[in-house]
Structures are given as C-alpha cells and as structure tokens.
C-alpha cells in the first residue's frame, strides 16, 4: 500500500527526468525540506501541547508534561533560529530571519490547508464510491 502511494510520485519523477528536467527544484528542495520539518515539528508540538489539556483532565492536571511539551516546542523554535542565524542552509528568498520565520509559518498553514483538503477529498471520494453501489444481499446457507 505504501508502494501504491508512492507509485504516482515515481512515475512523475520518471516523466520529469525524461523531459530533460533535473528534478525541478534541485538544490532548493533541501532548505524547503528542512524548513518544513522544523516548522511542522514546532507547530505540531504546540498542537499536541493543547491536546495535553484533555489528557490532564483525567490526571489531576499535572504540570510536568505541559512543561515537557513546551520545552520540546521551544527546542524546535530555538533550532530554527540558531540555524537561520548561523548558516545559510535554511534561508530562502526572504530578507531577514524574522521574515523567513513568518514565511515558514504561513507556508505551513497553506500547506496544511492543501493537505487537509486533499485528505478530505480522498476520504470523501472513497466513501462516495462505496455508498454509490447497490445494497448488498447477504445470503445464509441453511444448516
């Protein structure tokens, strides 16, 4: 099933290479991958931090996991800032570190919207094709 997920991707790769492309973005893909990873990790940690409030309901509201998750999200942010300040690895076409961080967040929100819409459509299409078929009759053999 993982292969069937990756099949269109490999086919597009083959088509792009046969068109004489050098897999489009080339070296620009690395900063995008790294920025997406760090931003998804940081924002994902913050979302899961919110989730801990539900968990805390059944555990007399302990503070330790909340601080733990806050520290984990902080680590992601600090790593991003450190890498942006000390290397050019994560800088894309933005003028300053603050602009790059803002761009990363907005980019992630747009990307997440696109992912959610694609998931919604794929699930909806699967459900719609199943319910579009006639109701099945189950026959039981007599003993």
């Amino acid at each position: 099933m993982i292969l069937s997920f990756l099949l269109p991707l490999f086919a597009l790769l083959a088509i792009d290479l046969s068109l004489g492309g050098s897999v489009g973005a080339g070296a620009d893909s690395l900063p995008r991958f790294a920025n997406a990873l760090l931003t998804a990790y940081t924002l994902g940690s913050l979302v899961l931090l919110g989730n801990l409030f539900f968990y805390a309901d059944s555990r007399q509201r302990p503070l330790a996991p909340l601080f733990g998750m806050l520290a984990a999200a902080g680590m992601g942010l600090l790593t991003s800032v450190f890498l942006l300040e000390n290397t050019d690895m994560l800088m894309e076409n933005n003028g300053s570190i603050r602009a790059q961080i803002m761009y990363n967040i907005v980019h992630m929100l747009v990307s997440a919207g696109s992912i959610l819409l694609a998931f919604g459509l794929a699930l909806g299409l699967t459900f719609a094709t199943i319910t579009a078929q006639k109701a099945r009759k189950t026959s039981f053999e007599e003993e």
Binding site: S4, L7, A36, L37, Y41, G44, S111
Partner: protein, 264 residues
C-alpha cells in the same frame, strides 16, 4: 500604529482565532461555549480573508488573499461529495436521491473552477503577480490527491470484500489527477508556465516529506513526554484482599438478588 502591530492585529490575531475557536468548539460540552467557539473560528476566517484590505502592506496577507480565492471551489467540492455520499446507500442521515445530481454538479463545478485557476484567467494574482502561496497550494494538493487516491484504490482491493468496482473508480480519479499534473508539467498555464510548475512540484514533494517527518517526530516526543511522566508516578496504594466476613456479606447480597427457577 506601526506595520508590525497592524499585521499582528489584523492578520495574526484572526489566524490564531481559527484554531482557538475550533479547539473550544471541540472540547466544550455546553452549547453556548460551542457556539462561541464556532463564532470565534468564523470571525478569524473572515478577518484572514479581509486582511488584503485591512493590512495591505503586510507580505503575509497573500495567504488571506489565497483563502478568499479557495473558499468557493473547496466548499463546492466538499459539499458535492457530501451530497453524493449521503444520497447513496447509507444507514443513517440518508438524503433524497435527487441530491445526487446536485452533488455531482457541485463537485464538477468546483473541480472545473480549480483547474480554471491554473489554465484559465482565474489564477489568484496579487499586485499583478501570481500569489506565491498559490504555487505552494496547487502542486501540493494535486500531488497528494493522486497519491492518496492510488493508495485508497489499492486498499479497497486488498482489504475490502468485492470492492473491485469502487477500486477502479478511484484508480480512474488518481489517473485523472495524475494526467492533470503531467499536463501542467508540459503545457504552460495562463499565468504559470510548465517549467515553473515543475520547479514548484518538487518543492511541494520536499515540503510534504518534511511535514510528515516533522510531525512524526513531534508525535514521538509527545509519546515520550507522557511515558516519562507516567513512569515517574508513584505506585497507587494497594488495598487489602476481602476478609471472609466481607465475602459472606457479598454472597448474601448476590443470593438475595438472583431470581428465576433453578435449571435442571
């Protein structure tokens, strides 16, 4: 008010209101709080869509501009699918059969609208240039949709029982979206040329991979934090086993409450 404060007030605050409103809506049990959550999310969404007019100088408003362009076709696609799915063979919440045609129409209009945003003059443009976030959204959406439909088609065939017909429909959809990507890679759109689309397609691939890995690490860290906390908790005090007197008391209660005739 300086530009940063204006952007914070008119763009970032509405952005923050959306997840906060959804969170309140999902976590509250009282209807007043749930309505308040809905209103907050809706207010946030309106604020984001209006941001090109409220803070025109901020570069982040390109996202608000894009949301305004996407709401129409996305709503048509999702509403169309809902109508098609629930006018079929469902056990609960069944809609009338006539809604199926309406659903198919809405879905087709939504899809044509989306494709018109690439090949016709409906491309989201800001200050005479293609909205930079449209070049993020469109390749990511197409790439993930073809991959998900392909995986879904095979899942139906492998896991499902006599689901070949449904699986074939999903293979067709996956192939159709795949051919749209190939067309965009080879034929120039109205505002985005083929080379530019190919460039952004692979950036979208890197973006999806990075997002998946980053979120997976966050989930692992979350599990690790909970595991460490649970391990650090003291063992709960154990109670003594029941005494013979307590057993007798329980047996008396049980026998007093069991009725019916004795089986032979």
């Amino acid at each position: 008010m300086d530009a940063m404060a204006q952007a914070a007030l008119w763009f970032w605050l509405p952005v923050a209101l959306i997840p906060l409103g959804i969170w309140i809506f999902l976590s509250s049990k009282e209807s007043l709080q749930r309505r308040m959550g809905q209103a907050m999310a809706l207010l946030g969404l309106t604020g984001v869509v209006l941001s090109p007019w409220t803070v025109p100088e901020s570069p982040s408003i390109a996202a608000g501009h894009l949301v305004g362009f996407l709401i129409g076709p996305a709503a048509l696609l999702l509403a169309g699918l809902y109508l098609v799915a629930f006018s079929g063979n469902v056990a609960v919440g069944k809609l009338p059969k006539s809604d199926r045609r309406l659903g198919v129409m809405a879905f087709l209009i939504g899809f044509v609208w989306f494709t018109g945003m690439h090949w016709w003059n409906l491309t989201p443009s800001l200050d005479g240039e293609v909205n930079r976030y449209w070049l993020v959204f469109w390749p990511t959406f197409l790439l993930l949709l073809t991959c998900l439909c392909s995986a879904s088609a095979l899942s139906l065939r492998v896991i499902g029982d006599r689901r070949t017909k449904e699986s074939n429909v999903l293979w067709f959809v996956s192939g159709f979206v795949f051919s749209l990507i190939v067309l965009a890679m080879t034929i120039d759109g109205s505002a985005v040329d083929a080379a530019s689309f190919r460039y952004h397609l692979w950036l979208a691939g890197a973006d999806l991979l990075g997002t998946a890995v980053g979120f997976a690490i966050a989930v692992l860290v979350f599990g690790g934090v909970i595991m460490l906390h649970e391990r650090s908790l003291e063992e709960p005090p154990s109670v003594h086993p029941p005494t013979p007197k307590e057993f007798e008391h329980v047996a008396a209660i049980v026998s007093a409450n069991i009725g019916g005739e004795e089986s032979e």
